[in-house]
Amino acid sequence: MKLSSNKTYILPSLFGLGMIAVTFLVFIIAITFGHPFSYFITFFLVSIIVVCAFSTNSAITKLKTFHFHDTFLECDNEEMVYVSISNREFNGPMSVHAISDMSVSERITFITKNNSKLRFSLKSDHCGISKLSRLKIYTKYPLGIFKAWKYVDSNKKVIVYPKRVKGKNIQQEFNFRNGVDQESSYNIETKDEFLEHRKFRDTDSWKHIDWKAFARGRGLLTKNFSGQESSALTLEVDRNDDLTYLGVITDELFRCYSSSIETIFLVNGDVLSRGTNKNHLYKCLRALASLGAKSE
């Protein structure tokens, strides 16, 4: 049975059950001896338990606004994911546990005034793009007698890209994949870097016609070059590429991103993205994730 996401659920914790048992024992003592102070202790314990139940319930009910982002996850690797929560929605410093279906271990977040980001771990064995599974958050605040929880749904995605393969040279991989006659993506004459395709015009040089694309039936296309010598690295992937190759590309992509080297990412011969920024990285990772899913 799947419990609703909009509700808060509450049950006594293991310690809470012990506490209830002790309260019951004190109650038995009270009715056995008829001692007024035992009655007082029983009633006091009951009142604190009730107030605590309300407090625990309200602590978790108040947490309503969660800011999720698309999550990029390396295949076979446990990653920590952070979800922002509104500062106004918690009573005071408290510990909140968060777990999702894709979590391997349970993570505790200590929410304070300075930290309002909830963390949880995610791990996946398969590449691909899927919907972020719903998150269960719970707390035992303030006395640990009750455990209140709620489920949080998100419309964001989890992008699982291929596992990074380190220690392999990208040129070697190219050679291994395409043989020695691998065509360079540079303008041989000027050493300018290939930028994009555009439709053939009569005035264009025949040398700049992409015959390979013509052979694939895409019509006459002229290669546009950047006009100056570029240090950009072209990473080309194909739908038939295996996971190891995709892993090498992923690793190269991250290496370039971290050292701010411009990369041109080609998928099936078409330029998907070019740049050094985060958006470019994410675009490439998405493509790698879907290609990885296909190759699996």
Binding site: F15, G18, M19, V22, L25, V26, I28, I29, A30, I31, T32, F33, G34, H35, P36, F37, S38, Y39, F40, I41, F43, F44, L45, V46, S47, I48, V50, V51, C52, S55, S58, T61, K62, T65, R88, P93, M94, S95, I108, F110, I111, T112, K140, Y141, P142, L143, G144, I145
Partner: protein
């Protein structure tokens, strides 16, 4: 964390034990001290073998319980066992789980200690102990988030206690309190200081105990001089001692139809003699139990469920005793040697024989002349202690006077008997009631007057009138301090300062709390309900009250819903930031939204909803209803 909690728990334990030291034996206290020393050395040295001593300590505890009490039953063994368990648990406070189990044992420990006491100020100690336990719980939860939040934990738990107080009061008022008497380890004890015999000097022992016996509320004014609370009658004489015997008379059966004259609430007694005023003609038990009307105008209660006795008393006219034919055999019986000086004294005043009033006057004169009242008269251990008291030492306590004067009455041919009970009490101006303590224990004599009425004769009232006039509490304290330059009147007036008033306030709280909460039982609840029913229109109101309330609420909701909505919004805003009503009235909805937009989004929604409902026509009733739900939700959850 483990070090911190060991420290906190040890300090808490030591403080708690200090408060309860009188209830622990020397051997158990020594065991606790040894365990504490072991824990401290274990924490300092980390020597593993010290932790292995836990099991021997537990066996030592069991042996102490067995050697001292010989039983597992009872409050003392339980408190010793739990005290030891709490200490042993402190050896291994390594994880959160250990701390949780320690706190659970601490709760049981506090409960076992609470069973040992009934004094009101212990309630405060118990309350504070519970607060400390809950603070520890809060600390365990918060220590990983924030460091050392002692102050915060106390304020948070006190806040919880405040929020929970209506629940405690509600439970106290609505939960019927009774016990199963005899279930598990229960044992019922009747506690009055009196036994069924009186040897002079017995009462001097009883008055050393300052504990409260009962509280009395009078519905009409009665002077302290007339407050003689009769509990037992001793009619069998053995020279200077008296014993209980069968009384040769019938019970009174007169019926009385009027409001009761006084209401007595016992502090400790469950079953036993009820102490009633002299002219009491009717007694009705208010607590659960049965009442026995004994001969000699005495009453006894047998509590059913171990409840403390409470009764109402009705005063009536003085009635002649309904004596049986053989009454003289009992009421004139003496065991005085013929050659004793008291017989010679009787023979000297033969003219008084069979003249009760004259004998009484004569005895008053006799005692007033040269006798002295003292709580420490010494032991009368000669062959004839009666002669020694009456003709040589002439120093005694109430027991001596009662015993001697009853014997003298009998020697003069006047039927008499010794009565045991209490005299007077301390008046509490704040609560308008009297508190009778063991200090007020007293004995006096009743003789059969010419008109056949049992008449009181109290020699103490002539030997030491201050004891009767100012009460036992003030008199004994005055005696104890030995203030020769001050008169007792000045001493009594000096006592009524701020502290005296404070004491009365505390006494009143104790009494009211006892009546309203601690001794409150199923029957009192029934009585409360009955009182309401007995009101002329009570039943009618009770039946229609829910409908009336519902109707009134509906009326309010329909006619004044705009005002209620505005008020709700105002209260909701005040939850987040303080805003005066007058200013609130001048602000428009957008201004209000501007004011609180940083505080709560749900409140902004509520104000928008309020605006919509206010300015648009024909909004559905469901929407209006949902506004109220939303407002209450904000009030409760924020």
């Amino acid at each position: 964390m483990s070090k911190l909690f060991t420290k906190i728990s040890l300090i808490f334990y030591i403080l708690l034990t200090i408060f309860f030291i009188p209830y622990f034996s020397l051997s158990s206290l020594s065991l606790f001290s040894i365990i504490i020393v072991t824990i401290v050395s274990f924490r300092l040295t980390k020597a593993r073998f010290l932790s292995l001593l836990r099991f021997p300590y537990l066996i030592a505890c069991v042996l102490i319980i067995y050697s001292e009490y010989g039983s597992w039953r009872g409050f003392e063994p339980a408190s010793i066992l739990f005290s030891t368990l709490v200490l042993l648990k402190m050896f291994e406070l390594n994880t959160k789980r250990d701390i949780y189990s320690l706190i659970l044992i601490q709760f049981l420990h506090i409960t076992s200690l609470s069973l040992l006491v009934e004094d009101f100020y212990y309630l405060f100690i118990i309350f504070m102990s519970l607060i400390v336990c809950f603070c520890n719980l809060y600390l365990v939860q918060q220590i990983s988030v924030e460091r050392l939040v002692f102050k915060k934990s106390i304020t948070r738990i006190l806040k919880f206690a405040l929020y929970g107080s209506p629940i405690v009061i509600l439970l106290f008022l609505s939960f019927p309190r009774f016990n199963f008497g005899g279930f598990l380890f229960s044992s019922s004890k009747a506690t009055t200081g009196f036994s069924e015999e009186l040897s002079p000097g017995d009462i001097a022992e009883i008055i050393k105990d300052p504990s409260v016996v009962f509280h009395v509320n009078f519905t009409k004014r009665i002077q302290r001089f007339d407050m003689y609370w009769r509990g037992q009658i001793l009619a069998k004489n053995d020279l200077f001692s008296w014993e209980k015997s069968k009384l040769p008379e019938k019970r009174y059966t007169e019926k009385i139809f009027k409001k009761f004259d006084y209401f007595v609430t016992y502090d400790t007694l469950t079953s036993g003699p009820l102490f009633t005023l002299e002219k009491t003609r009717k007694v009705v038990l208010s607590s659960m139990g049965s009442l026995i009307n004994l001969k000699g105008n005495l009453y006894r209660s047998n509590s059913i469920r171990n409840k403390k006795s409470r009764y109402k008393g009705w005063l009536g006219p003085e009635l002649p005793a309904k004596l049986l034919d053989n009454y003289e055999e009992v009421y004139l019986q003496t065991n005085v040697p013929i050659d004793s000086e008291v017989i010679k004294y009787r023979n000297k005043h033969r003219s008084l024989i069979n003249k009760p009033t004259e004998v009484a006057l004569h005895l008053k004169d006799f005692f007033m002349k040269s006798f002295k009242y003292s709580t420490t008269p010494g032991v009368y251990n000669s062959a004839n202690p009666l002669d020694e008291f009456l003709f040589r030492r002439k120093v005694g306590f109430c027991g001596h006077y009662a015993s001697a004067s009853a014997t003298l009455f009998r020697l003069f041919g006047v039927p008499s008997r010794v009565v045991l009970g209490y005299q007077g009490g301390i008046f509490n101006k704040v609560g308008n009631f009297y508190v009778v303590t063991e200090k007020d224990a007293h004995s006096w004599v009743e003789y059969l007057a010419e008109d056949g009425v049992w008449t009181r004769f109290d020699a103490v009232s002539v030997v030491s009138p201050a004891r009767i006039a100012f009460g036992a509490d003030a008199f004994f304290e005055f005696e104890k301090l030995g203030l020769r330059d001050t008169s007792i009147e000045d001493f009594v007036s000096s006592r009524s300062g701020i502290f005296g008033e404070l004491r009365q306030y505390i006494q009143n709280i104790y009494y009211q709390a006892g009546t309203l909460f601690f001794n409150y039982d199923l029957e009192t609840q029934r009585n409360l309900f009955k009182k309401f029913i007995s009101f002329k229109y009570g039943q009618w109101v009770l039946f229609y009250m829910p409908y009336l309330l519902l109707g009134f609420l509906l009326f309010l909701a329909i006619t004044g819903r705009e005002k209620i909505k505005s008020l709700l919004v105002f209260i909701c805003i005040n939850k987040y930031r303080s805003l005066k009503w007058l200013k609130y009235r001048t602000l428009t909805e957008p201004q209000l939204i501007d004011l609180i937009k940083d505080s709560s989004t749900s409140l902004v929604d509520l104000i928008l909803m309020y605006q919509r409902l206010r300015y648009s026509r024909n909004e559905s009733a469901f929407k209006e209803l949902s506004f109220f739900f939303k407002a209450f939700k904000i009030l409760v959850y924020g």
